[in-house]
Symmetry: C2
Subunit: 222 residues, 2 copies
DNA sequence: ATTACTAAAAGACGAGTAA
DNA sequence: TTTACTCGTCTTTTAGTAA
């Protein structure tokens, strides 16, 4: 557990732009920012450095400070807490976008029994071997980010034939009333403007969809 | 400036649901939550109460704690900081909705010289005396919340004829390429599904708009 | 001007205790 | 069991100082 004061210091650095690259600081200026003495400010920076939340390089007139990956992670954890406090009750999300052709990867994955079985168990349908790829509108790309805070169903990965199949996560949704689910890899981040949707049947046929058709994906929650 | 530890305590209470109503706590359980002794936990609660961030009522087996408006405000301030850290680079927002009829209040306010002059100064056009009212689509209501973190232009209120005219804030935007601005009161929260837009001319005529027409409001930023 | 040490002052912590 | 006090200890802070 990271100290409340360290978090406060780290946040202040982040607000000054420390997540994007080194920023200039002095004990004086940093202390003013936090309302503490330069001595304490200096010690705080030393503490953050010890915990590897920042890296520093001394200059004659101060120092350059940048937030490290672990430091940023800590801040994101905090951010997620606040998001949980203030955005939990949102009951409805709507994404819009256009149908595009995928590369057939979805079809491959959906044909693997391990995934098939788990989707069946958690979603209540056996997925059609193929995914519907949707390119999101700019406005929906933002909304998609909010979805991260919802309860996705985790489907574990596995190893077979000396190959590793990563875990995926899935979120139930509806397209034109049809029960579907968004699927994405648990770890890697694919392009954030494209989502892949699975269903119990072939959505392109069921809904008579073609490339470039505009569709809406609705997520209702609890 | 609120202490880092108090903020941490307050956040913990919020995560337990303290923003929505009274929750049960004991010094013991709260201390466990924070990794501190019950004595310190008790002192923290007292401190929060002194600052009016929480209200408490003692029970034989613990206490009921609820976060007050000022307490919640403090947390929202913190949340906004994190939002600024992680979501600053969004350059484009798009709201969609339908044109509706307002109550003519906008017309009244836009005819007041004080407002007129300030809008002229900050926006570069003298507002047409009237506002275009737009009912947002569900998806856009969410996006609208994100707009709060952008740099709105503050227009101060004033007092005249023994009446108080509140401050308003405005955000430049475009509708079908036409330069406009969203306007809303700085303090009070109106319905979150309706926005009011002003422009240098009468938008209904310029863009040939009628009630129930669908339109898109675009906000580009920096 | 810096950083970062030492040492004195201030404040926070938790054990013990009463209600 | 609680809450919340006192009190001794320990930690944190800031002033002063050196580099």
């Amino acid at each position: 557990m990271v100290e409340a004061e360290d978090l406060q210091s780290l946040k202040t650095i982040a607000l000054l732009g420390g997540c994007n690259g080194p920023i200039w600081l002095s004990s004086q200026s940093f202390g003013d920012e936090l309302g503490i003495s330069p001595q304490t400010a200096s010690r705080r920076l030393i503490a953050l450095e010890r915990q590897q939340f920042i890296i520093r390089s001394m200059k004659p007139d101060g120092q350059h400070v940048a937030i490290t990956k672990p430091g940023e992670q800590e801040l994101r954890r905090e951010y997620a807490d606040y998001t949980r406090i203030f955005n939990p009750k949102r009951k409805y999300y709507s994404l819009t976008g256009t149908v595009i052709s995928g590369l057939g990867e979805g079809r491959y994955y959906m044909s693997i029994p391990h995934y098939k079985a788990q989707f069946d168990e958690h979603l209540g349908f056996e997925p059609f071997p193929g995914t519907l790829n949707i390119r999101l509108d700019p406005a929906s790309i933002q909304i998609r980010r909010d979805l991260e805070h919802l309860r996705w169903i985790e489907v574990s990965g596995f190893t077979a034939d000396e190959r590793t199949f990563g875990g995926v996560k899935t979120l139930p949704c509806r397209i034109r009333g049809e029960f579907c689910a968004i699927v994405e890899p648990s770890r890697t981040h694919y392009r954030n403007d494209i989502i892949e949707v699975i269903s119990g049947g072939e959505l392109r046929k069921i809904l008579d969809l073609n490339d470039n058709d505009m569709i809406e994906v609705e997520i209702t929650y609890d």
